[in-house]
């Protein structure tokens, strides 16, 4: 464990990016992952501990140019209270509603949930279905530059992302869902609260004239990172969400995922549950 030499509390993104450019920075937001992970020795602190919670630019939700931009510091509890999320992104609202406990929802941030990159990260599965992009800011040539990376490319593996050490995740942006888009989420654990998902599923589709289009399926806790299920999506695309189609898609989902045995469940059980949850979520989408 390296010793922390400086504690920084920047008030704006530019200053934060400048600090990050200096290297060896550990970023603190809600702390709900950083504190237990550092105490358990799974994460060691860099020379600088940077608390980003006093940066107003990282707060709030705004809609512009067909994108809904959610600031990185938006807490999971905030997601539940934001009208935009409840009305326009119900799939994300559902995941926030089933997230940990009241206390953790009050502390944990959406930016932190993304950067923690857990294979079971609850907000990541709906965000994949919403085609979310993350916004990353850094200082280059004396200027603040930002880039956007699709979430599916950003998540690399357990705890690993495409964020460069000098970058700050400032927001997650979601394209405004197309007309008629419906998406739902479900997760499975041994109890509703505070359990890390054994598996989770989100499905979204535009349902027009009975047929599903623009179908998006995502799975959690069945691979080193939350994933989209292109084969399951192909089974559904252009077809009505009728019982036979849903059953066939659930079979494909069962075969498409590659879970492992671990302390929470066996791979066999996870596949069965992906089958069942896919069916359940699809019928919710069909009935939405």
């Amino acid at each position: 464990m390296s010793a922390i030499e400086r504690y920084e509390v920047p008030r704006d993104v530019e200053t934060a990016a400048e600090i990050l450019r200096g290297g060896a920075v550990t970023i603190l937001a809600g702390g709900t992952d950083l504190m237990p992970q550092s105490k358990a020795g799974r994460v060691s602190f860099g020379k600088v501990l940077m608390n980003i919670r006093r940066i107003p630019e990282l707060m709030g939700v705004a809609e512009a140019d067909g994108m809904i931009r959610i600031g990185a510091l938006t807490s999971i509890a905030d997601l539940l209270e934001l009208d935009t999320v409840g009305r326009r992104l119900p799939v994300l609202w559902q995941a926030a509603d089933q997230f940990a406990s009241g206390q953790i929802r009050n502390m944990g941030t959406i930016g932190g949930n993304i950067c923690n990159a857990s294979p079971a990260g609850d907000t990541l599965v709906p965000l994949l279905v919403l085609n979310a992009e993350v916004e990353l800011a850094s200082k280059a040539g004396g200027r603040l530059v930002t880039r956007r990376v699709p979430l599916r490319d950003f998540l690399l593996g357990p705890g690993r992302t495409a964020r460069r050490p000098e970058e700050l995740l400032t927001a997650v942006a979601v394209p405004v869902p197309p007309d008629g888009f419906r998406a739902r989420f479900a997760k499975l654990g041994t109890r509703p609260a505070l359990d890390i998902s054994t598996v989770s599923v989100a499905v979204g589709a535009v349902v027009r004239g009975g047929a599903a289009e623009d179908v998006r399926v995502a799975f959690g806790a069945v691979a080193p990172r939350p994933i989209r299920g292109p084969r399951t999506e192909a089974t559904l695309d252009g077809r009505p969400l009728a019982k036979a189609v849903i059953d066939a898609a659930a079979e494909v989902a069962h075969d498409e995922v590659t879970p492992i045995d671990d302390v929470r469940a066996t791979a066999w059980y996870r596949r069965q549950m992906i089958h069942n949850l896919t069916k359940e979520v699809l019928s919710h989408v069909a009935a939405a």
Binding site: A3, I4, E5, R6, Y7, V9, L28, G31, T32, L34, M35, P36, S38, K39, F45, L49, N51, R53, A77, A100, S101, G102, Q103, I104, N106, M107, P192, A193, L194
Partner: protein
């Protein structure tokens, strides 16, 4: 030697200034530095709720909060709730319903219940159960605790004069 940082915040309505190691938890600061031992250390990883406090009016697990992040904020612990007449009915209800056995979860349970009731004084049983889902109790089986909080909510979260 751990890096220290001086912070100022309001603790149970009183301005405090304290120097803490930057990796210290808010819980350790409360118990070991400020000697407010009402807030309990249960699991140390945000799973049990025994360490629940309010920060800027929102309940949090103080065991996963960095003490330095209390800087500039309003912190309320069980000692603050205990001194607040508004929560007298909640305390009495817990006693009346037998909602306290070993008592270890009680401070966190009371802080979280106060948070649930201040956000929704008429919360129904389901909302109260959900509100308390982050607080573990190994004695009561929860029923008596939930009954106690429901009774207060049924009375409209009645505020003592």
């Amino acid at each position: 030697m751990s890096l220290l940082r001086e912070i100022r915040f309001t603790l149970n309505g009183v301005a405090r200034q304290v120097s803490v190691p930057v990796t210290m938890t808010a819980l350790a600061m409360l118990r070991d530095v400020l000697h407010l031992t009402g807030t309990k250390y249960g699991c140390g990883e945000g799973e049990c709720g025994a360490c629940t406090i309010l920060v800027d009016g929102r309940s949090v697990n103080s065991c996963v909060m960095f003490a330095v992040d209390c800087d500039g904020r309003q912190v309320t612990t069980i000692e603050g709730i205990a001194a607040d007449a508004q929560w007298q009915p909640l305390r009495e209800s817990l006693v009346e319903h037998g909602g306290v056995q070993c008592g270890f979860c009680t401070p966190g349970m009371v802080v979280q219940a106060s948070h649930v009731l201040s956000r929704d004084p008429h919360a129904d049983r389901q909302a109260i159960k959900r509100g308390l889902e982050g607080n573990l109790c190994r004695c009561t089986g929860y029923k008596k605790i939930v009954d106690a909080v429901v009774a207060v909510a049924d009375a409209g979260g009645k505020v003592a004069p």
